[in-house]
Every structure is written in structure tokens, then in C-alpha cells.
């Protein structure tokens, strides 16, 4: 037992000493790992931010039900309550004729002629029910409900308004968001795989450089783990350092960018959200990076040392 402890301590100690003595190689290996781990982290955050932007766009999509002027407020509110019970409905809002007009004026406040026209016509805006669907892909359920004969009768012509051009737009956005999400996930997976390969290759090269040491240790009667252990420890240290650096780099990048582009956003990439998301999940990201770095580092060392530790069988 005591012997085992001594040996375990020696393996860790030798790994640390080797790490320090092979500083130049260590710097190269850590640098490569920092870059790849940073790419992984960056793509995860980008993906989440993109996803958030898509959600926001999707959130703006609603189904409007325009009610006939003959429908009383009580009837309108009753219908609203019914719609609320549908499984795919996220939220419903009932706007009376006056509220709908106010909202219309607000939305078009920069277009005076439209506002004047609406006022002069004696409120042409119908009372409206705004429905936000939970899942854009299943909007058909809501449609089926709204087009039932008795409910359709309460609505003006052209209601509900997802039909026609707008239905097409909704379909397009739904389609696009699905594809964008899939691309995002695939990109993260591809980056992670490529990074793993690059890290593996770097460590394999580092061990290839020292293959003579491995064979010498073998000839002196060292057991497999006594030889391999220090390399595993050394590579795990690479992973650990690289993980910390990658998180720091992303953190620094956010600090720099939030100073430079106060509250701005680059098209689909909302930097403020990305920054918040990163801040909120900081510990989780650090753990993820540490896990990826250490596991890939250690695994690479185990695989890379295998060929030099084999005994001649024939």
C-alpha cells in the first residue's frame, strides 16, 4: 500500500517536473490547445446567441384574430379564454377596438398621414385577439380551431391573419430558424471533433519526440503506468492551463468589445446577450473547458504512448 502511494506520488511529481523541464514543448502544446478550446467555447456561445436571436424573431410572430364590430367585448373575452386553453398557445391578448387603434397609432407614429386617416375614419380598426404560439411548427392546431364555422363567423374577412402572405412568411422563418439551429449544433460538434484531433496530434508529436525515453524506461523494467502516468499528468496540465486561458481570452474579448461597441449588435449576433449568457454560465463554461481539456489531453497521452509500450509478441 505504502509502495503504491509512493509510486502514485512519483508519477504525479514526475509529470509536473517534466512539464517544467519541457517548457518550450509545453508552450507550443498549450498554445494549440488554447486556440482550439477557444474556438469550441466561441462556437458554443455564438450558437446560443444565434438561438436567442432566433427566439426573439420567432417571438414577434403572432396570429391576429380580427373580430366583427358586432361581437361584444364579453363575447370577445370569452373567445380569448377559449383560445388560451389550446395546448400550443403561449399567450393571448385581447385588444378592444380602442386599444387596437391606440396600438396601431403607436406602431405608425412616424407616419402622420396613416394616423390622421385612421382617426378621421372613426376607428376602422377591429377589436383584435393576438395569439403567440408556443411552437411555430404546430401553428396548424390554432388554425383549425379558429377556422371552425361558428368562430370564423365572428371574424372579419381576412381573419385570422396568418393566412395568405403572412402564413408564407411564418413558414419561411420557421424553416430558416430550424436550419440555422441545426447548422449551429453541427458547427459546434465539428469544431469540437477537429479540436480533439488537433490536440491529439500535438500530444502525439510531443510524445514521439521522447519515444526513446519510453523505450529506455521499458528496458529498465518500468511498468506500463509508471511510464505512461507522467505523460498523462503532463498532458492533463496542458489541458488545464489551456482551458483556463481559453475562458480568460473569451472573457477579455467580451470586456474589449463591450467597451468598444456599447450596446450595439452585429446583425444576428447580439453581443450584449452573448456577454450576459457567458457571465451567467461562467462556472459552467469553465468546468466544460476544464473537462474537455483534461480529458482530451489525458486520453491523447494514453493512446499516443501505447505503441511505444507494447512488448514484442512474436
Amino acid at each position: 500500500m505504502k509502495r503504491r502511494l509512493i509510486t502514485l506520488w512519483r508519477i504525479i511529481h514526475t509529470g509536473i517536473v517534466n512539464f517544467i523541464r519541457n517548457a518550450s514543448l509545453a508552450i507550443a502544446a498549450v498554445a494549440v490547445m488554447v486556440i482550439t478550446l477557444t474556438i469550441i467555447l466561441f462556437s458554443v456561445i455564438t450558437n446560443a446567441t444565434l438561438s436567442h436571436t432566433i427566439d426573439q424573431i420567432a417571438d414577434k410572430i403572432d396570429v391576429s384574430v380580427f373580430l366583427q364590430d358586432s361581437v361584444t367585448q364579453a363575447q370577445g373575452e370569452q373567445l380569448t379564454a377559449q383560445i388560451k386553453k389550446l395546448p400550443n398557445v403561449k399567450s393571448v391578448q385581447y385588444l378592444s377596438k380602442q386599444q387596437a387603434l391606440d396600438s396601431y397609432i403607436r406602431q405608425n407614429s412616424n407616419n402622420d398621414s396613416l394616423v390622421t386617416a385612421a382617426n378621421q375614419a372613426g376607428n376602422p380598426i377591429p377589436a383584435t385577439i393576438l395569439i403567440k404560439p408556443r411552437d411555430l411548427n404546430k401553428i396548424g392546431d390554432i388554425k383549425t380551431f379558429l377556422t371552425q364555422k361558428n368562430i370564423q363567423a365572428m371574424q372579419t374577412t381576412g381573419s385570422p391573419s396568418y393566412s395568405g402572405d403572412r402564413q408564407k412568411a411564418i413558414d419561411n422563418i420557421t424553416h430558416a430558424t430550424n436550419i440555422l439551429r441545426q447548422i449551429g449544433i453541427i458547427a459546434v460538434i465539428v469544431f469540437a471533433l477537429v479540436s480533439a484531433l488537433i490536440i491529439f496530434n500535438t500530444i502525439q508529436m510531443a510524445i514521439f519526440n521522447r519515444r526513446d525515453e519510453l523505450t529506455i524506461m521499458r528496458l529498465l523494467g518500468a511498468s506500463t503506468w509508471f511510464i505512461r502516468g507522467p505523460f498523462v499528468v503532463e498532458s492533463a496540465i496542458y489541458g488545464l492551463l489551456a482551458a483556463v486561458f481559453s475562458v480568460l481570452i473569451i472573457n477579455a474579448a467580451f470586456l474589449a468589445s463591450s467597451n468598444a461597441l456599447q450596446a450595439s449588435s452585429l446583425g444576428l449576433l447580439d453581443i450584449n446577450y452573448a456577454n450576459q449568457y457567458f457571465g451567467a454560465n461562467f462556472l459552467w463554461f469553465l468546468t466544460m473547458q476544464l473537462a474537455i481539456g483534461i480529458v482530451i489531453g489525458a486520453l491523447s497521452a494514453i493512446i499516443a504512448t501505447r505503441r511505444y509500450l507494447k512488448f514484442k509478441t512474436k
Partner: protein, 200 residues
């Protein structure tokens, strides 16, 4: 053990350290039957045999002390004991004071003596030395041979391969001659000449 290049000296030694496996025949050393050796037993076998190589095979990133200590770390010896044992062995091979040097800073003869220290520090019953003087000039070669003689006097069997007839003739020990992979002579207190293979 003598013989021309290609006679099979190194192959025979590699068979003893189980770097090679025989195509036929049996190897038994100290009661260990090599046929019954499993992969996981090979390190244990090698810990019982000291080996010195022509190209020294020192660990380049370790100091002299660490190179010798490594042989003891492998078997799980405690630090205190290692600190006690290594200087003694370095003394035997006349390398006192070189503990903290790196192999790169040593001459060939010194490096070979570090390798010998490493080979004997576990007190093996057998020391195998494959052309240990092959890369050394005559003066340093004799330093190494003298150390090997000393170790032999302490009771360790030394199996030395060489094609330096000077060394063989001065040592006057048992000489086994190999030719084309076969033993062609085996004589006690013998000499050797490159031309005739062996001489009385």
C-alpha cells in the same frame, strides 16, 4: 562473449532481456522459464537483470542522480532509501560529485559508468553489458572494464560482449565465441584474436 559483427551477440542478449523471442529453443534464467512469461511479468524480469548498452541509453532529461534513482523508483523504493543508496553506487563507479550533472555534460566514459551504476543499483545477480566500450576511447574503455571487474568481485555475474581482443586477453576469463549464431568455442581463462577466433 566474443564474435564478429553479425555473429549474434546482441541478439542473444536481447533474448535474455526478452526484447526478442526465440524462434526455437528454451531460455531459463534463475529458474524463470521465458516461455511461461506473460507480458505483465516482463517488467519484473527486467528488474532482476542489469543491462548496460553500447549507446548508454540514459534518460536525457534527468540528472545523474535521477537516472540511477529511476531504477529504484521503478521498484517503489522510498525516497530516504534512494538518497542513501544512490551515492554509494555512484562511488563504486567513481562518479562522486557528478550527481547533479546532466548526461549531456558528461564524457562518454562517465556516461557509461552512470549506466553501469543504474544497472547495478538494484543489485542484480546478472549484469549484461553489450559492447559497453564500443563507443569509448581506450583510456575510458579501461575505466569501464575496471568497474565491471569490481562488480564481478562483489559477486555479480557479468556477461560482457566485445570485439576488443585487448580487453579479452587482459581479463583472462571464460570466453564464449559465437559465429553465425552458433557457439563455436567455450573456454575458461582464455584469450581471443580477431584472426583465428580464439587462442589459448
Amino acid at each position: 562473449m566474443v564474435g564478429q559483427s553479425g555473429a549474434g551477440k546482441t541478439t542473444l542478449l536481447r533474448l535474455l532481456t526478452r526484447e526478442e523471442r526465440p524462434t526455437s529453443g528454451k531460455i531459463i534464467i534463475g529458474g524463470i522459464d521465458y516461455d511461461k512469461l506473460k507480458d505483465k511479468d516482463i517488467p519484473l524480469l527486467r528488474r532482476k537483470i542489469g543491462v548496460v548498452f553500447q549507446d548508454f541509453k540514459l534518460l536525457p532529461n534527468k540528472t545523474v542522480f535521477e537516472n540511477v534513482a529511476f531504477a529504484l523508483e521503478i521498484v517503489g523504493m522510498g525516497n530516504k532509501e534512494i538518497k542513501h543508496t544512490v551515492p554509494k553506487v555512484l562511488d563504486i563507479v567513481n562518479l562522486k560529485g557528478k550527481e547533479d550533472s546532466m548526461p549531456m555534460q558528461l564524457s562518454g566514459g562517465e556516461r557509461q559508468r552512470v549506466a553501469i551504476a543504474r544497472a547495478i543499483v538494484r543489485q542484480p545477480r546478472i549484469l549484461i553489458a553489450d559492447e559497453p566500450t564500443g563507443n569509448l576511447d581506450p583510456k575510458h574503455a579501461w575505466d569501464v572494464i575496471k568497474v565491471l571487474e569490481k562488480i564481478n568481485r562483489y559477486g555479480t555475474t557479468v556477461l560482457l560482449t566485445t570485439h576488443n581482443q585487448d580487453i579479452v586477453n587482459k581479463l583472462k576469463r571464460r570466453v564464449v565465441t559465437l559465429q553465425h549464431g552458433k557457439v563455436v568455442s567455450d573456454r575458461a581463462n582464455s584469450g581471443y584474436s580477431v584472426e583465428s577466433g580464439y587462442k589459448k
